[in-house]
């Protein structure tokens, strides 16, 4: 049995964590009152902890127990300022780590955060370092959410800097989710968030369940680490559940890798470095030949492909996790961030200069009363 730690940091991380807890109550089908009569059902031993400097963000949560919400006191929040955030983390490091240690030993930790906010993006790299120091053999996977591009230059800048930091820390890899990419699910922002969070939650739990299962064809935590270590150590996840009209396992695998079913825009054929395909379903749907053929076809373009098969009653479900060797989308973010920062800098100097020119008028003058 895997010991899993799920940390949701910052508002975005908190909400995704809440979605994970909700998923444990039965996912999108879970009633708002489910927590009153059900126990969350995780495939492994899962501990969840929501960390935030904003009490209100913590209060907003619905499916996370009170003891799993950790408020890090910081007088005025961090206001998207990563430096303030880092300071706040360092000030409260022992308290935060103490809260995690209370929950025992862990084989794997998921640190879930937005890359662009203040709290989550600044806490997470430091937190990962602490986890790595504290738990010798722990596998740490970062789940980072990229901002909507139109959210502003500070968010972009934060995303750029925090992504660099996250890539530098000693984590096993980063799973990316891109809000911008999933904007297509439409609707208002709140329901888009809910939808995205639900998708992330579902995939993560599916992953955990699969890693902890008696698989027909073995994949385990080691395989997963190997996949995450590939390429840029940045990856994403695709997921597909076959509908009753088409139960073909081959199509399901293919679909799980289609752009529409990914969390981040990547082209498996061109960019993938390593991949892992986890297939679940009733035995009669699991045609081994088909699976093998399809996996081999994938391997041709995506390097090494691990496959895991879990026999479980139901229509075929496929989760694919892969890392990429190149991340054009991320690069464009950096470009955009840099441009934004440059613009900002120029604006600032221009403004400064204008102000200085204005001050020039009163040079050599004294106040007269």
């Amino acid at each position: 049995m895997l010991n899993v730690l799920m940390l949701g940091v910052g508002q975005c991380g908190n909400r995704i964590l809440d979605a994970i807890n909700k998923e444990a109550f039965g996912g999108s089908g879970a009633s708002k009152l489910a927590k009153y009569y059900l126990r969350p059902k995780f495939p492994s031993r899962v501990e969840t902890l929501a960390v935030n400097t904003a009490v209100n963000d913590l209060k907003e949560l619905r499916f996370t127990t009170a003891k799993d919400r950790l408020h890090v006191p910081n007088l005025h929040g961090v206001g998207a300022n990563r430096n303030v955030g880092k300071q706040a983390f360092m000030d409260n490091r022992d308290m935060i780590m103490g809260e995690i240690e209370k929950r025992g030993d862990f084989d794997i930790a998921f640190v879930i955060t937005s890359a662009s906010g203040g709290t989550g993006s600044s806490f997470s790299p430091l937190l990962i370092n602490e986890l790595k120091r504290q738990y010798r053999d722990i596998t740490v996977i970062t789940v980072a959410v990229l901002p909507f591009r139109e959210e502003g230059s500070i968010y972009l800048q934060n995303a750029a800097f925090s992504m660099r930091e996250l890539m530098e820390v000693d984590a096993e890899g980063i799973i990316l989710a891109d809000n911008q990419y999933m904007k297509r699910f439409g609707g208002d922002i709140a329901s888009a968030y809910d939808k995205i969070n639900g998708m992330i939650a579902q995939r993560l739990l599916f992953l955990i369940e699969s890693l902890d299962s008696e698989m027909l064809s073995v994949t385990d935590l080691g395989d997963f680490k190997t996949v995450m270590n590939g390429g840029l150590r940045i990856g994403t996840m695709g997921f597909y559940q076959a509908d009753s009209k088409n139960l073909s396992i081959r199509d399901a695998i293919e679909n799980s890798l289609k752009p529409a079913n990914l969390l981040y825009p990547a082209n498996v054929a061109d960019d993938a470095a390593r991949a892992m395909v986890i297939i679940q379903g009733s035995r009669e749907h699991l045609d081994m030949d088909e699976i093998t053929k399809e996996v081999e076809r994938l391997s041709a373009s995506a390097g090494h492909v691990f496959k895991g098969i879990v026999v479980k009653k139901g229509r075929p479900k496929v989760l694919s996790v892969f890392t990429v060797a190149s991340a054009p989308e991320l690069e464009s973010i950096y470009a955009q961030a840099a441009r934004g920062m440059q613009d900002e800098k120029e604006k600032r100097t221009r403004a400064r200069k204008q102000l200085n020119d204005a001050f020039a008028h009163i040079e050599d003058l004294e106040e007269i009363y």
């Binding site: 927590k35 009569y37 127990t65 919400r69």
Partner: protein, 409 residues
């Protein structure tokens, strides 16, 4: 002296025979003088024509005529036609009280022919009044009546009231009834020779004792007497009880009578005892639990029930134990009742019928009455069943509250 004269006159001649001395001479002399005076007057008076006038007098009434005063003192006997009058003359030359016999003229001072007066009782109406004729010479003046100022003297006038009463006006065949006859003298004089006459026994009754009722023969004013006799009602129906009559006389032998007011009574059919049995048992009995059966025997009839014996049983005979159902009583009076209770103990669940049989003498032979009661012995002890509902709800609420607290941040 005067009273003596009065006496002599009233009682008549015999006494005069003994008075042959001076008073007798004086009397004779006086008589002669008076006669002479009358004669003299008569001779020189034109109006010596005799006239008469009738008066109806009540006792105490007086007729004035010249110096004469004539008063009705008493009606001594209506039957015998005797009236007492007092005749006097202003100045005192005449003062005489005489009993006058009806229809016979009485002369005073020589009578109307001799310038005196003649009085005749023409009629006696009653003890209070009489018609009197006065004859006199016109020269004496006009006779006038002076009504009496004093109240009529207390009279000898007995008055009997009589009453007949039953001690109940509703009875049943076989009942005894007490009849009371009460006679009371509400008048002023003694009533004599009282005879109470009650009509012969009615066909609806047979006499038991005390008949005929005996009432005193004499009752003074204000006195009363009563007599009681007892009858037995023998036939049912509505009966008019006839009056009783008393006859009597007053001291003057005037016969009188009075009678009571007749009234109705009802004789109902022969009274019988009628026992009603009521069995009540509260709520079902729990298995292995105890219960109580209350038994009430009340007499709704009109006669006492005697030798009452209650006994009973249970059906089915197994499973419900009843003790204390048997009981006997000497008597239950009409409108009275007896209560007692029997203990029940349930040994087997089911529906039971308890039958109580009461045997008694209702006054007309032996009677049997029966009553039944249903008793349920419950399957189980359901006392804590509601907890089965409340406890889970409480647990659910506690659980949900705990969850709420767990997720409340």
């Amino acid at each position: 002296m005067r009273s003596k004269n009065n006496m002599m006159h009233r009682d008549g001649v015999p006494e005069m025979r003994h008075l042959v001395n001076r008073p007798c001479l004086v009397y004779l002399l006086l008589s002669i003088l008076l006669i002479q005076a009358a004669y003299g007057e008569k001779s020189n008076d034109d109006d010596d024509e005799v006239t008469f006038k009738d008066f109806t007098l009540n006792i105490g009434d007086r007729i004035d005529l010249g110096d004469y005063q004539m008063e009705l003192i008493e009606i001594q006997s209506v039957r015998d036609g005797l009236v007492v009058m007092r005749i006097s003359k202003i100045g005192g030359s005449l003062d005489e009280q005489r009993a006058l016999l009806q229809d016979s003229p009485n002369n005073f001072d020589g009578g109307a022919e001799n310038r005196g007066v003649t009085i005749t009782v023409a009629d006696i109406f009653d003890e209070q009044s009489a018609k009197v004729r006065i004859e006199y010479q016109q020269g004496l003046g006009t006779a006038r009546k002076r009504a009496s100022e004093r109240p009529a003297a207390a009279l000898d006038k007995p008055e009997l009231s009589v009453q007949k009463s039953f001690d109940k006006n509703q009875m049943s065949v076989g009942d005894e009834v007490k009849v009371t006859i009460t006679v009371k003298n509400t008048g002023t004089g003694q009533a004599l020779g009282i005879i109470a006459e009650d009509v012969p026994p009615l066909p609806e009754f047979s006499y038991v004792a005390g008949y005929p009722p005996k009432i005193k023969e004499t009752l003074d004013s204000g006195q009363s007497d009563s007599a009681v006799y007892v009858m037995n009602a023998v036939k049912e129906g509505s009966i008019r009880v006839p009056a009783i009559q008393v006859s009597y006389t007053d001291s003057k032998k005037n016969a009188k009578s009075n009678s009571s007011v007749p009234f109705n009574i009802l004789i109902g059919p022969k009274s019988k005892a009628d026992l009603a049995i009521k069995l009540t048992s509260k709520v079902p009995i729990a298995l292995d639990g105890e219960g109580m059966l209350n038994i009430s025997i009340s007499n709704l009839g009109t006669a006492p029930a005697t030798r009452i014996e209650a006994n009973g049983g249970v059906n089915p005979p197994e499973g419900l134990q009843v003790s204390g159902l048997e009981k006997s009583f000497f008597e239950i009076l009409p409108e009275a009742y007896e209560n007692y209770s029997a203990m029940l103990s349930g040994q087997k669940p089911g529906n039971y019928t308890i039958r109580l049989r009461v045997n008694y003498d209702g006054g007309d032979g032996s009677v049997i009455r029966e009553s039944t009661a249903k008793v349920v012995v419950l399957e189980r002890e359901y006392k804590y069943q509601y907890l089965l509902l409340i406890i889970p709800i409480a647990i659910v609420i506690a659980w949900m509250y705990r969850r709420y607290r767990e997720y409340k941040y």
